[in-house]
């Protein structure tokens, strides 16, 4: 045994010394690192446009003729929209993002329809409407759409071009909210669109939530075209409700007037506003920590994400998972971007109890290979459907 190990050691050493270190490793790694960051930002940005519903409205509005059994979705989730997965060639292409194609749930049948849109919001409480934005390579960018889940039709409204692909719809389905970018001032602001009459209201948002400007390339037909995009660092740190907007710890009415603040620890970064109260934040200076803050400002849950290697040169890494949504009353769904790999990861999430820190893997039910996901609580789905498609 010893002799074999010695021979293996000698052979491994010879193998390890058999080639010189290639040149330009750092430069190539940095270029690839940038691409990885861009892809990650794009994924994290829209993977789960999630904010849980604040008010549970009856599902009868969907005009289903079967009786609505008790909710089978409590503490469970379902996929509302899923982005078609890019091909391996597209994934390997260094400077392109794939053309968009989304499959959106028909809440009457449980099936999915395909729509050529850039991104999809979570739905209104009655699951009838969602906001969609034009594809990034669409010539008519200055518009925003209301998607009808029962028919698959989109009604487009003339509106400022969306700068960040993270629209939201108010729980009653009457308004759309999304980020726009003023090229004159360079500032980001919010646009509210009244979906009943198309009226647009610009909203000044508090400083400090400026989305990050980036430039992406995409294929339009066979041509490679370049577009400027804004990518929010805190994609879920704002919430559009029926009568107010919560952005970065500030509460605004729908005319943009500041009406109050959300009590948050100083310099903490809001990750997601919880409908009905509470905010998930990243505390100041603690990159690998999520904390749940209640409406009084008290910390009611706290989960660290940190992994360490205990080899000789020990070190620790803060794992910053991507928030995907709320799960029941005590848990969040996250995807660990650092440890995930490629296309499998979109269908595997972790459910984490914010009070106990307990973590378990959740396997997402999807039709086929998907990229980005919009995950909703299954509470508003009719019982039979929830039983079929929830996870």
């Amino acid at each position: 045994m010893t002799r074999l190990i010695d021979r293996v050691r000698r052979d491994l050493s010879e193998l390890a010394d058999s080639h010189p270190v290639p040149d330009g490793l750092a430069e190539r790694a940095m270029a690839a690192g940038y691409r990885r960051r861009r892809r990650r930002a794009a994924l994290a940005g829209g993977v789960a446009l999630v904010a849980a519903a604040a008010v549970v409205l009856p599902f009868a509005a969907l005009a289903v003729d079967r009786p609505s059994p008790p909710s089978a979705g409590a503490g469970r989730n379902a996929v509302f929209a899923q982005q078609a997965m890019p091909t391996r060639e597209q994934m390997n292409s260094p400077d392109t993002v794939p053309p968009p194609a989304w499959r959106i749930l028909d809440p009457r049948t449980g099936g999915y329809r395909t729509a050529a849109v850039g991104a999809v919001s979570m739905p209104s409480d009655d699951l009838r409407y969602a906001v969609v934005i034009p594809p990034v390579d669409d010539a008519a960018q200055a518009r925003i759409g209301r998607y009808e889940t029962l028919s698959g039709k989109i009604r487009w409204y003339d509106a400022p071009p969306p700068a960040v692909d993270l629209p939201q719809i108010s729980p009653d389905g009457s308004r759309a909210g999304y980020w726009v970018h003023d090229p004159g001032t360079g500032e980001a602001e919010m646009a509210l669109v009244d979906l009943r009459n198309g009226r647009v209201t610009p909203i000044d948002v508090p400083a400090g939530l400026m989305p990050e400007r980036t430039r992406v390339k995409t294929l339009r037909g066979r041509e490679l075209t370049s577009y400027a995009l804004l990518q929010s660092r805190d994609p879920f740190g704002w919430l559009l409700e029926n009568d107010r907007l919560v952005v970065g710890g500030v509460i605004l009415d729908l005319s943009g007037r500041r009406t109050g603040t959300v009590p948050l620890p100083e310099k903490s970064v809001p990750i997601a506003v919880r409908p009905g109260g509470g905010t998930l934040v990243q505390p100041d200076g603690e990159l690998g920590v999520y904390a749940l803050i209640d409406t009084t400002g008290a910390v009611t849950g706290r989960v660290p994400f940190r992994s360490c290697v205990t080899a000789d040169n020990a070190m620790c890494v803060d794992d910053i998972p991507s928030f995907h949504g709320w799960r029941g009353t005590d848990q969040i769904l996250v995807r660990d971007l650092g440890n995930s790999s490629g296309r499998q990861a979109a269908t595997i999430l972790d459910a984490i109890d914010l009070h106990t820190g307990e973590r378990h893997t959740v396997y997402v039910k999807v039709e086929a290979a998907v990229g980005r996901l919009v995950v909703i609580p299954a509470d508003n789905l009719p019982g039979e459907l929830a039983a079929d498609i929830s996870f």
């Binding site: 790694a29 690839a32 960051r37 020990a314």
Partner: protein, 176 residues
């Protein structure tokens, strides 16, 4: 990413790439696959550079080991393991000498499964303990022990097989 961070990353790569490339070569067995493996790990590290505390070399090393045993990331590189290139460099005149035994063993190493080879590299080349290897690969120390045991047993089998096959082939060639 600020210029200072780019400079720090470049400096880190310049200082550690020799050691890391050795490990990548031992893990993959071929310089193209090793370069891919190392560059992927470096790219991942650079993308998370602001969040890497302590010694980033350990982060890169861990990323390489885990990528090597990960089904998805390994698949793309698997075709590149140059088993045949080892034989191409063999000195056929030295049929019964040390070179053939060494090449047979090296071929056997490359025919091990990625996890078994990773355990061998960590335990034998890098001289890590079972606990350290387990932390690196994300498994239990018991699994490391059993994988090492199986890897050595498998090596014996494969090396013996290769030696016999090669001997038979060379005899056959000398007769024709």
């Amino acid at each position: 990413m600020r210029e200072s961070e780019r400079a720090a990353f470049s400096e880190f790569v310049a200082g550690s790439s020799g050691r890391l490339f050795r490990v990548a070569l031992a893990l993959t067995g071929g310089h193209h696959a090793a370069e891919d493996l190392l560059q992927g790990a470096l790219a991942r590290t650079f993308a998370r550079w602001r969040h890497v505390h302590g010694n980033p070399e350990a982060y890169v090393r861990r990323a390489m080991y885990r990528a090597q045993v990960s089904v998805w990331q390994r698949r793309a590189r698997h075709r590149e393991v140059p088993l045949e290139s080892v034989h191409e460099r063999a000195d056929h005149r030295d049929a019964y000498g040390a070179t053939d035994h060494r090449l047979a063993l090296r071929s056997a190493l490359l025919r091990l499964g990625p996890r078994q080879r990773a355990v061998l590299v960590a335990r034998v080349l890098e001289d890590l303990s079972e606990e350290e290897t387990a932390a690196l690969l994300g498994c239990s120390p018991g699994t490391v022990g059993s994988q090492l045991h199986r890897a050595l047993a498998r090596l014996r089998e494969i090396a013996a097989e290769l030696g016999v096959e090669r001997e038979h082939r060379l005899i056959k060639e000398s007769l024709t």
